[in-house]
Symmetry: C2
Subunit: 394 residues, 2 copies
């Protein structure tokens, strides 16, 4: 008789997010006239940029003719996209990454979830608290419950983890951070790279939000730190950079200089278990790097950053304590009242008709905080800030 993976029992059923959806639905039914503003989910709302749309149409037309039709592509991505990534995201910023160190995928969620397959089952894993839950759950599913270590990210350390004193082997880092919006400085990231080199640990650097960094002094890639190519894998996405959450395209960089033949192992993993990203979507991603594409997506990111700034400055002006919202679409709001973040969710939903995410959904250290995002419309964001400050003015 077959048995099931026992480690799935260690996962929470993710009641929180289902519960949130249920509560929003219930509010909509009981108060059908209420104009609910959603600043909860981290999903983009602006339509795809014109350069991206044009590239999609062109690629679809190619698929309609036998001479230009494309079937299976290379699992790790077409050369045209690998080259565009290499040149624009790395070479132009002085970072030498080879095309065969880049792996295009259908999403950073998949990449950060799958990467742990390459590691020994006994590896000690460190993740932040609060954290994007996929880092934790993918390791729980693989049976690493006992080897998980949490790095508290709290007000005292600016919500940025420091290298742990107890030994770990693999560390997930995310900057600009989801959910706190905190961003590593060059000095802090340099310290992490030095640590990883010293203890021979591996850094998994999730920079899905790097496009939101506006201060040139802040690192957008971990490979800006010398020596990082020997200790770090980097994850990037077109989701928040170019609004691809519904199109699905991302990539990760697995340098050849990493120990353990990780580049070869990841290639073997991807060629065995993955069949490449949809061809029109890869052409769409390539168009992001065109001159009009770059201009258009910069305007979109400015729009979301402006929303985040409106939330941040509006709440600050009302005397509240707020973090993030600069170089990040996420605002990490310290609860203005003494209650659990879940109870605060209810209050905000029913009294202001504003939806956010309770910090406890991201881990124990998230309790006492609330995540708002800049991904709404400009008008709705302003209206939400007004409702919040009217209610909680201090």
């Amino acid at each position: 008789m077959f048995t099931t993976n026992p480690f799935y029992q260690e996962l929470s059923e993710n009641y929180l997010f289902a519960e949130i959806a249920r509560k929003v639905d219930a509010c909509r039914r009981t108060e059908p006239e209420a104009k609910i503003i959603r600043l909860g989910i981290g999903d983009v709302t602006l339509p795809l940029a014109p350069a991206v749309i044009a590239a999609l149409h062109r690629a679809v037309d190619e698929m309609a003719a036998a001479e230009t039709f494309r079937g299976y592509g290379p699992e790790q991505g077409y050369d045209f996209l690998l080259e565009a990534i290499r040149e624009h995201d790395y070479l132009r910023r002085g970072i030498a990454i080879a095309a065969d160190e880049i792996f295009v995928s259908d999403g950073s969620k998949c990449d950060v979830a799958n990467i742990q397959e390459l590691f020994g089952s006994n590896c000690r894993i460190a993740i932040c608290d609060p954290v994007y839950p996929v880092y934790r759950d993918s390791n729980l599913m693989a049976g690493r419950s006992a080897q998980l270590q949490y790095l508290p990210c709290v007000e005292a350390n600016g919500f940025l983890p420091e290298p742990p004193r107890t030994p770990v082997d693999v560390i997930y880092l995310c900057s600009p951070n989801n959910p706190t919006g905190a961003v590593f400085s060059r000095e802090q990231l340099t310290e992490w790279v030095a640590y990883a080199r010293r203890v021979r640990a591996l850094l998994l650097f999730d920079s899905a939000y790097e496009a939101y960094i506006r201060d040139p002094a802040l690192p957008r890639s971990i490979y800006e730190i010398p020596g990082a190519e020997e200790v770090a894998i980097e994850f990037r996405s077109f989701s928040k950079t170019a609004g691809f959450t519904g199109l699905r395209c991302a990539y990760c960089v697995v340098p050849r200089a990493l120990p353990g033949r990780l580049n070869a192992l990841w290639r073997r993993r991807q060629t065995t278990k993955f069949n490449g990203v949809s061809y029109p979507v890869q052409r769409a991603a390539e168009a992001v790097y065109s001159e009009p594409g770059q201009r258009q997506i910069a305007a979109q990111i400015d729009y979301y950053l402006n929303n985040a700034r409106e939330i941040r400055t509006g709440l600050l002006a009302a005397g509240m304590t707020v973090f993030g919202g600069e170089h990040s679409p996420y605002v990490w709001w310290k609860l203005p009242v003494a209650m659990s973040s879940m109870a605060f969710f209810d209050q905000l939903l029913h009294e202001c008709h504003v939806v956010g995410t309770p910090g406890s959904g991201f881990g124990d250290c998230g309790e006492g905080y609330f995540r708002l995002t800049g991904f709404g419309s400009c008008d709705a964001t302003r209206e939400a800030v007004k409702r919040i400050t009217d209610r909680y003015l201090q």
Copy 2:
């Protein structure tokens, strides 16, 4: 210090297929005037059907306007596609599958590779020999080397495995089969379902080529067999059905009636590690089920089936021994000369300029055979048959 997954060392480096590509390239360079005909790789060549192209353009236009833009969709697929699958692929054939038992993905390769994550590490796994290598490699990567059992598929059993005498827990079946083209009869599949129910084993039924079945007496879904919903997961794909190898869309059915809460486990797996299929691609898949879509893809499959038939009948007429090529795009050709299938590959390439796949690439029992596919153009296929029969007429 971090360690790597030791089980990756048990994988072959897949020299064979890299070697094949290298040899074809070399031939192209040394004989630039030779017209090489590729009947090796199992990839489609006809352009996407007009109904699919139109749906893609419409969906791309939706992504260009804020009112119709779609960001993250449900990980398991949009309702419009789940409903189309449920109705056309199951309900109309008298099979009751609920929409929440269907999971849309970006490829059957991913699904059949990922499904083993749900099973205990000690599960005993049975796969055919010859076999699609992903079944084997995904289990090797998970450390199940010692628990792998091979079911020989040879001329004596019509290249179709029978239930093993030694106990196993999970069995991968594929019908119409890749690489042999063999198809289970209703009686044979009924025997497998009865076996699985008796020993409480799980069947993983890969029916990626079901659309090639033309005899209504042959089962296209394992759920045509009563009781199968309690012992079988089914994998389907739009790749060979509708030419989606470059678009990426597939689905699997994980019935709620399966033991071990497999439906819930797979939902947890997919929501944690996957972010859904590209929205325009899901609309394209939906269009496959439209009246024009059904007509257009039927014509494409007829085209490929006709090619397979030309190969089959041409080789048979020349006195050779051939299997498959009916209800399947694959022809399984018994070598007409006494040599290894790899040596035969070289001979066929250099003397006929025809590319196929050596049977040994699919497992030890594939030695002595050669796979040709119906996915080429009609003219090239005829020409290949002529070259082969001129050379090997017996």
